[in-house]
């Protein structure tokens, strides 16, 4: 294996010739370098996209800090090299290396991939290839690193089952420690690799695909999954932390400009709104809030360590954070006069949101974002984001009146049962908002419409529905392009090809792995980057494997279909999702579940955790009586399996 010093010296010649060499050097402020030889477990955390994007990923930062806090472990980073750097590496036969110590990735014990979205799948294969590690899990031996992956896309791990040794389902803060412990125990024992996989499968929240086999009906739909060894859990229950640990504060400060140069502070995890299209809202339950003091201390420490000019207060729905006004006031008072920009994304459509933004004293007033997601009240009831049009217009008036000149409105086309009138309504609503703006501030008023295409996601109430076809998407986009022309209006949309790729992969089964492999073989990578994405390569890959892409996207699934991701339990029951889907067809909405518990399934599973963490920490109702012990539930099988199949 090539040594770090050889890699270092060859880089001296390579780096001056590539774009933005600062992506590949490491050595940034706050990076952690530990004594390689003195450490027993070495983990490479890999974000399989460009450094510029990956550096802003909070999950990577959290794990980096936690692993490096262990005396016996180290974490280093790696990202996908851009094509010019990949070419240079391959030409000089250099493997992909870690930024901190320039060790080849193959020298690590564990490679941990972050998979927040599906379009990183081909890049994951490419990183393994650049590292000189077998692409297929089955071909790896004791000499190779353990390859694990986690992130939101891992909630349907099946399309990547052939390439990843073990998936982390859920939150990584605690489970990463247990994985490292299991790896250390296995290394001491010196047993075959399969023993490591068996040990991992016993950890709550870990899914080892090699321990299961998939079966299909003659019509091609998924039948079931069978475990190959007795102790493999079925279903695999997602991992959660009962309380959010203190936020990371030692953010690495890149040498170059990246997507977000700011201190991200998670104020709350999970969401109680129950929007039916929203993957994150379903898989990140329950809602856990971080105390105001902890957030303020996190910001203060983060500023001292980085010198950043911006803080992002992150959550899926900022307005719903219990102490949001108190937090916003405290932030603006505490950091007044320090030229700090505070971003507060995901605000509800109500005038209170304008007050919140006002309290932040953001002097930029560049754009105010609202996400009605759909333009008619009927459509918003179907997706369970009930806001009246009058309330939206009233909020828009307040925004323009308080000094913002541009309102960004986010919509989706392709919601279930959408008609062309609903699409036309998007244009009408944008014009209505613009008219409000003109009446308040005249010609300066602007509306930017961001219209993406809805992709049905696993584990959501819309997992049954059909995704729009290329023709439908084109037709709807053409209408919007025609209707949203003119001064003060701007329209952004997604390429339909990119939407379809994400749609195929989102609800894919194990057979999709071969499609991904074939696409990568044909050169697919950086699929999330318009300039690299090649739709025809994917079509060829489907053809080579003999699968019909439309089967995965343009098919309304029968209500009793078994899905290839059902062995992954978010603990939101299928019964709840089914009911919610049927309600949506009738236009029935659900209120915020802080107002009323709909028994989605979180509490019965995690009753003991909730009981141990009473009060405001969780937003689910309190559990007083001692119910089922969590320890009995995990490692799992019987109790929960019974619960699961009884639906």
């Amino acid at each position: 294996m090539v040594t770090p010093s050889e890699i270092q010296s060859r880089l001296e010649r390579i780096l001056p010739g590539v774009q933005k060499p600062g992506r590949y050097t490491g050595g940034e402020l706050n990076q952690v370098v530990k004594d390689w030889e003195a450490i027993s477990t070495r983990v490479a955390l890999i974000f399989p996209d460009l450094y510029d994007l990956g550096m802003s990923n909070l999950g990577m930062t959290i794990l980096y800090e936690l692993i490096n806090q262990r005396a016996d472990s180290l974490a280093e980073r790696a990202y996908s090299p851009w094509t010019d750097m990949e070419e240079a590496l391959r030409e000089s036969q250099l493997p992909l290396y870690s930024l901190e110590t320039k060790h080849p990735l193959a020298a690590f014990d564990i490679l941990g991939f972050s998979l927040p979205y599906e379009t990183l799948y081909t890049n994951t294969l490419n990183v393994l290839d650049l590292a000189g590690i077998p692409i297929f899990s089955a071909e790896r031996t004791e000499a190779h690193p353990l390859v694990i992956a986690g992130g939101h896309a891992a909630y349907n791990p099946e399309p990547m089952h052939a390439f990843i040794d073990a998936f982390v389902i859920g939150e990584g803060e605690e489970v990463i420690q247990e994985i490292i412990d299991a790896h250390q125990a296995w290394k001491r024992q010196g047993t075959p690799r399969i023993e490591l996989l068996r040990a991992l499968a016993r950890i709550w929240g870990v899914y080892v695909p090699a321990l299961y086999r998939d079966f299909y009906h003659p019509d091609g739909t998924f039948s079931h999954l069978e475990k190959l060894i007795e102790e493999a859990p079925l279903p695999v229950i997602k991992r959660i932390v009962a309380r959010l640990p203190p936020p990371p504060t030692r953010f690495i400060v890149p040498y170059i400009d990246t997507v977000h140069n700011r201190i991200p502070v998670e104020i709350m995890r999970g969401c109680t709104r129950g929007c039916r299209f929203c993957h994150a809202g379903m898989i990140t339950r329950p809602v856990r809030e971080r105390p105001v003091d902890e957030i303020l201390a996190g910001i203060e420490a983060g500023l001292q360590h980085t010198g950043y000019e911006e803080v992002g207060l992150l959550s899926l729905s900022s307005s719903d954070y219990t102490h949001i006004l108190e937090l916003v006031k405290a932030v603006s008072e505490k950091f007044a006069g320090r030229h700090l920009n505070v971003s507060l994304p995901s605000l509800r459509i109500e005038s209170f949101s304008v007050e919140l933004m006002d309290a932040l004293q953001d002097t930029r007033r560049s754009g105010f974002t609202l996400a009605p997601e759909a333009a008619t009240e009927r459509m918003r009831e179907i997706i369970n984001k009930p806001v009246s049009t009058e309330q939206l217009l009233e909020t828009a008036r307040a925004i323009y009146a308080r000094g913002w000149s541009n309102i960004k409105l986010y919509f989706m086309i392709g919601h279930p049962s959408e008609t062309i009138e609903d699409v036309q309504a998007i244009a009408d609503l944008c014009r209505a908002v613009l008219a409000e703006g003109r009446s308040v501030i005249g010609k300066r008023a602007q509306v930017t419409a961001g219209v993406s295409t809805f992709i049905p996601k696993p584990h959501t109430p819309f997992q049954w529905v059909s995704c729009d076809t290329m023709e439908q998407i084109r037709l709807k986009q053409a209408l919007l392009k025609e209707k949203l022309r003119g001064p003060g209006l701007k329209l952004n949309w997604n390429a339909p090809e990119e939407t379809l790729l994400e749609a195929w992969l989102s609800r894919g089964d194990r057979r999709m792995a071969e499609v991904i492999y074939q696409a990568w073989k044909r050169g697919a990578k950086f699929d999330a980057w318009g300039e690299h994405f090649r739709f025809t390569v994917w079509q060829e890959a489907f053809q080579a494997v003999g699968l019909d892409p439309a089967f995965y996207t343009h098919r309304e699934r029968p209500i009793d279909e078994t899905f290839p991701w059902e062995h992954i339990s978010t603990t939101v029951r299928k019964k709840f999702l089914t009911e919610d889907y049927l309600w949506s067809l009738q236009g029935r909405t659900r209120v915020d579940c802080r107002e009323r518990c709909f028994a989605c399934g979180i509490l019965p599973t995690f009753a003991e955790l909730r009981r141990q963490n009473p009060g405001e920490v969780w937003q689910c109702p309190e559990v007083k009586s001692k119910r089922v012990q969590l320890q009995e539930l995990i490692p799992v099988s019987q109790v929960v399996a019974g619960d699961f199949s009884s639906q």
């Binding site: 010649r13 390579i14 780096l15 001056p16 010739g17 933005k20 060499p21 600062g22 050097t25 490491g26 050595g27 940034e28 402020l29 400060v253 040498y255 170059i256 400009d257 140069n261 500023l303 001292q304 360590h305 980085t306 010198g307 950043y308 000019e309 030229h339 002097t363 930029r364």
Partner: protein, 214 residues
């Protein structure tokens, strides 16, 4: 108060471009806890003024930056605070207060002196330098615009080899606004690939200095 800082840009910081270096300075001053002044108005900008852009990949120990602070602080305190907060690759060398009425740094830079180390053998370097300097003009393109490189080369001389036996030269290039010579262009004109060299800025030459020397 206006403060002039001489700093070294070394090691991995050499891959930070001019705009990113500007941001690195803002963050460095904020981490140091110094009261950085911001411009007034709709979108306030930090009052930081770098003398002369150093092309990506080059090192230097003579970079200059002017910063404005909202309070009077001793230069020694400033130097200590900056040195403690500096990222890897920025070394704080000298901190002096300067008269606020002095013109902006980038308007008074006249020329830059670079040393170039050739990592590959370059036996005929002397001859190549001689013939280049003897040329009346060296027509080249930068970002598809034609220009004459020869006019931007103010001086070129060979230096003794370094301790590893690498050939070295020193080149002084015009650095006036709109007439800035790039060392990698000189290297390319000598028939060498820039990736096989190391370039270090040794000295910034200001209008006054040039006049005084003349």
């Amino acid at each position: 108060m206006r403060v002039r800082i001489t700093f070294a840009k070394t090691d991995l910081m050499r891959f930070t471009g001019h705009l990113d270096l500007h941001r690195a300075w803002e963050r460095l001053i904020r981490r140091a806890g110094l009261p950085l002044a911001y411009s007034q108005g709709f979108s306030p900008h930090p009052r930081i003024n770098l003398a002369s852009a150093l092309p990506l990949g080059f090192t230097s120990d003579c970079e200059l930056v002017d910063i404005w602070l909202e309070q009077e602080i001793t230069t020694e305190e400033i130097r200590l605070a900056l040195a403690q907060a500096a990222p890897p690759g920025i070394l704080i060398l000298v901190v002096v207060p300067v008269d606020d009425r002095l013109p902006a740094l980038q308007t008074v830079v006249e020329a830059s002196e670079f040393s170039v180390t050739f990592l590959d053998p370059a036996d005929d370097l002397d001859a190549r330098c001689l013939s280049m300097m003897a040329a009346e003009s060296l027509p080249r393109h930068w970002r598809s615009k034609p220009y004459d490189l020869r006019q931007l080369i103010l001086d070129l001389r060979l230096l003794p080899d370094d301790d590893q036996g690498h050939r070295r030269m020193q080149v002084t290039l015009s650095a006036r606004e709109g007439a800035t010579g790039r060392p990698e262009e000189v290297i390319a004109a000598l028939g060498t690939i820039p990736e096989s060299t190391r370039v270090h800025r040794e000295r910034l030459i200001f209008k006054e200095t040039v006049l005084a020397a003349g």
